[in-house]
Assembly symmetry: C2
Homo-oligomer: 328 residues x 2
């Protein structure tokens, strides 16, 4: 069966049709128009019960996450959030549940000055679809397709905790009743990701290319390389120095190979992966310091296709990861 990206390519991309949009399907956001106030960045994400969240999820956390994954797309574009629409299919009108959802949604929306301007409510299997709008000067947009040979590869925050929490939950079938500090932290990373909007804004004019980490670093990096290779007309790849990967400290007790797998193929991190010229190292670190977010230089872009791992001794490490795909 074809995968999600293959489906989109086959049925919904139309390379022969010239569009008006400055940037269409295939990036974190589409870019529309280009007036003085900047292009409009648009992105849509749909969350389905049993696939993107557990049926017993705290509705407040769900409201947070539904908007957060959309704001993360704006962040990966360097766009400033403006407004959003919410479409909701609900199996029933459970009022305390809806009140919780609205609380989580509006707390995050208000923190980012992002206004709910419209939507739709219908009865049906639980489904949340948010479309978010943001603004960005077109020349400063952090597109996926602008990585260049020799760029440093950077990632924000720490990786792997969300995927670890998800796997723990899938193995045990329920969250533990008492507190368990490492898992509680990891679960918060899974359920309440913080979209890196401030970082996206700080990277305008500094980063060459960016993508947010939703499907796992290796796979998302693959998307960035594929688009950048096509745009540059040369095959670009990347080497990742495993010792530089910011593995979340709560994974400290796990074997090294397991940590690598969670960080590279785990998904749900919602950190930003970006490239920048070597000359911008100081400015990138200063941007991170200014917004209080650790930025790690984890490798570089090379003129050979593929993603390679390099161990602490500089020798290659074999690794076969693939991005999460809803249809594989």
């Amino acid at each position: 069966m074809p995968g999600e990206f293959e489906l989109i390519r086959r049925f919904f991309e139309r390379p022969g049709v010239a569009g008006r949009a400055a940037l269409g399907i295939g990036d974190d956001c589409a870019l529309i128009g280009a007036g003085d106030e900047g292009a409009l960045a648009v992105s849509t994400d749909m969350l389905v019960a049993g696939r993107h969240f557990f049926d017993d999820v705290d509705p407040e956390a769900l409201g947070h996450k539904a908007l957060a994954v959309n704001l993360s797309d704006l962040a990966a574009m360097g766009a400033r959030p403006l407004s959003f629409t919410l479409a909701l299919a609900l199996p029933n009108a459970d009022e305390p549940w809806l009140a919780g959802l609205a609380r989580g949604l509006f707390a995050l929306a208000d923190a980012h000055g992002c206004e709910l301007v419209g939507g739709d409510t219908t009865r049906g299997p639980l489904n949340l679809c948010i479309t978010v709008l943001g603004s960005v000067p077109p020349a400063q947009a952090l597109r996926r397709d602008r990585a260049r040979d020799g760029d440093d590869l950077w990632v924000s925050g720490a990786l792997g905790a969300a995927a670890w929490a998800l796997q723990r939950r899938l193995e045990t079938g329920a969250w533990p009743v008492g507190t368990e500090p490492a898992l509680d932290h990891a679960r918060a990373r899974l359920e309440r990701p913080e979209p890196r909007v401030a970082l996206g804004l700080a990277l305008r004019g500094l980063a060459h290319a960016a993508i947010d980490l939703s499907d796992g670093l290796a796979g998302d990096l693959g998307h960035l390389l594929e688009r950048s290779s096509a745009a540059a007309g040369v095959a670009l790849g990347a080497v990742i120095e495993t010792a530089a990967l910011p593995i979340d400290p709560v994974l400290g007790a796990l074997p090294q190979a397991r940590c690598l797998e969670l960080a590279l193929a785990g998904g749900d991190d919602y950190e930003l992966l970006f490239t920048a010229p070597a000359g911008a190292r100081g400015a990138v670190l200063a941007a991170g310091a200014r917004i209080g977010l650790t930025l790690s230089r984890i490798g570089r872009i090379e003129p050979a296709p593929g993603v390679r791992l390099s161990g602490p001794d500089g020798r290659p490490i074999p690794f076969h990861a693939r991005a999460f795909d809803h249809f594989l």
Copy 2:
């Protein structure tokens, strides 16, 4: 259990919070910004299998309708279509089905110069969520809340056929195998509504208020009156002259009361209901003639709340209709 509009009001409208949008929740579209190129009109509609369409629907018709109901919201705002996003939850990756969906979607999109700029695909119970963007000069937007006492009440096209087809299908459980001209016409009205985009554009600067007919004329008129009353600070109502209602000719064999019920409470017509000053009658009729669409003057706005029906002899006709509500 609270209804759809009550749910939205209770959990998602925030009267105390000042928004940046020129027009937020409660109209056919939100209006954002107001640059030289006009405000951006935004609307979202979600279609759920078994609720908005039958499981055996022709995917090409579904692709058409999913976009049509969104374009209808732009039409009701007087907005010109620009672009849209599509989020899809699919139970499986059925390729012929997806190819049909894409065909119906793009045929209508191309007819209106509306570009697919992004989206999301996931596995889940069948659900289509489209967000559409359009442009309109803010002062010419056809808002719901601008009806005035003494305005003529107009409706485009013919009413009731879609609702009749839907009821026939619900009664018989399947579409007939052979052709049945009246039902075939009515089914096309149900499955392939034509969004009245050209009419919306022609009514800029001419109509006072407008709404598209999705839930039934009586209920949708109620929304228009409610918003206009609140905006004007006076209770506005309407009288409808039943003899002037453009009942679809395919309903000719049905009893008069049944035709009235279908036209007033049936829903799914996707015609435009609008108000305009009496002095604009000639201009409105000329606009209809120019775009080849019949426009019927069906009544007027009055300074007394409620919707009243007036028979051919001028005497009131009792009628109790309510709009379709997904949660009642």
